[in-house]
């Protein structure tokens, strides 16, 4: 298979920190303009904008990989990718139950807008979605995998909300063959420090919260068949073909 241009970590207006202009339609359109072929929308603890994103991706000729960026109990961000929007929604429903009962204050955190594929607001979830769920890292991984998902620890080189900033080292008992770095040049340093076993695969995405950030988005998978995420990507390509 040809190399694949991907963007596997970005936020829509359902994330309170995501710009209101990041509607699923706008996001998918901008991603298409930026030359992205495989797009994962990964809002904080919600799959609410994935149905609209799936429709928009189909319209723009992109492949959507349904995703959620989960905040674990340890306040670690874990990217979870799913074979279908329905599987992601099942995870989203579960996550909402495990979020603390703290409402989103839009003036402080921003709006949480759920949109349809015509850019209409159809819902505003009440609970603050960026909060930590009551699911720890190990349990989140198990739950996502039970739904057919695969997990990638987010931005390991970030000084907050990453496995390495919160726990110091990658827990030995958890197997994450694929990890995300903002700057892949930093992988070696963490491996040499003994904080991270050498990863099989490193992904670099934009973590875009604003439309402008999408222009510089994503990375290239030289051999998509060899990716840790290939079982999901293949499934999505098949679904798209049919």
């Amino acid at each position: 298979m040809e190399p694949l241009r991907y963007e596997l970590h970005c936020h829509s207006c359902a994330s309170p920190c995501g710009d209101d202009s990041m509607t699923p339609v706008m996001l998918c359109g901008m991603a298409a303009l930026a030359g992205i072929q495989l797009l994962a929308l990964t809002d904080h603890n919600t799959a609410a904008n994935l149905p609209a994103a799936e429709e928009a991706c189909a319209a723009y000729g992109l492949t959507l990989l349904p995703g959620i960026e989960v905040t674990t109990e340890e306040e670690i961000h874990l990217l979870c990718y799913f074979p279908t929007v329905e599987a992601a929604q099942a995870m989203g429903t579960l996550l909402y139950e495990y979020l603390p009962d703290i409402p989103c204050e839009p003036d402080f955190f921003g709006n949480q807008l759920v949109m349809d594929s015509d850019d209409n607001i159809i819902d505003r979830p009440e609970k603050l979605l960026i909060n930590a769920t009551a699911l720890d890292l190990a349990r989140t991984k198990v739950l996502a995998e039970q739904l057919g998902g695969l997990c990638v620890p987010a931005h390991l080189d970030k000084d907050s909300t990453s496995v390495l900033s919160v726990l110091g080292i990658m827990p030995e008992e958890l197997d994450f063959p694929c990890v995300e770095f903002r700057d892949p040049a930093k992988v070696q340093r963490f491996v040499e420090l003994g904080a991270l076993p050498p990863p099989r695969e490193v992904l670099t995405s934009s973590d875009a919260h604003r439309i402008e950030a999408l222009g510089e988005a994503g990375g290239i998978m030289e051999h998509p068949e060899e990716s840790f995420l290939w079982p999901l990507i293949r499934r999505r390509l098949e679904l798209q073909g049919s």
Binding site: T71, E75, P100, I102, E105, F108, N131, A132, D159, S160, T161, S165
Partner: protein
């Protein structure tokens, strides 16, 4: 005791001098989501979380000040945001609980 007076207590240094506020209680915790749900306004919050999210939570909860404990450094981003939001940030080599006790004693605040 005001956050300004707390800053003058032995063992504490000022990383960012924000708006003057009176300390009414203390809280020691590192999980931001927990602090967000529990902390009352005018709290002196002792933590090891030296990142920008700490300032967001301190602003939201109207904390009197943040005390970074164990000599943990603050990121530049954190201090820039603290400056913008008028949040006082102190630093100490003490542990969280010891820092709260030291400030409570200095200010005559009941724990």
């Amino acid at each position: 005791m005001t956050n300004k007076e707390a800053a003058g207590t032995a063992g504490f240094t000022v990383l960012c001098a924000g708006e003057e506020r009176t300390i009414r209680s203390f809280y020691c915790c590192d999980l931001l989501s927990h602090v967000m749900g529990q902390v009352l306004e005018d709290t002196c919050w002792c933590t090891v979380m030296g990142n920008i999210n700490t300032i967001a939570v301190a602003t939201l909860t109207e904390a009197a000040c943040v005390v970074l404990c164990h000599g943990i450094p603050a990121t530049e981003e954190m201090l820039r945001r603290a400056e913008e939001n008028g949040i006082t940030v102190l630093s100490t080599n003490m542990a969280e609980f010891d820092a709260a006790v030291a400030l409570a004693k200095a200010g005559g605040i009941a724990l």
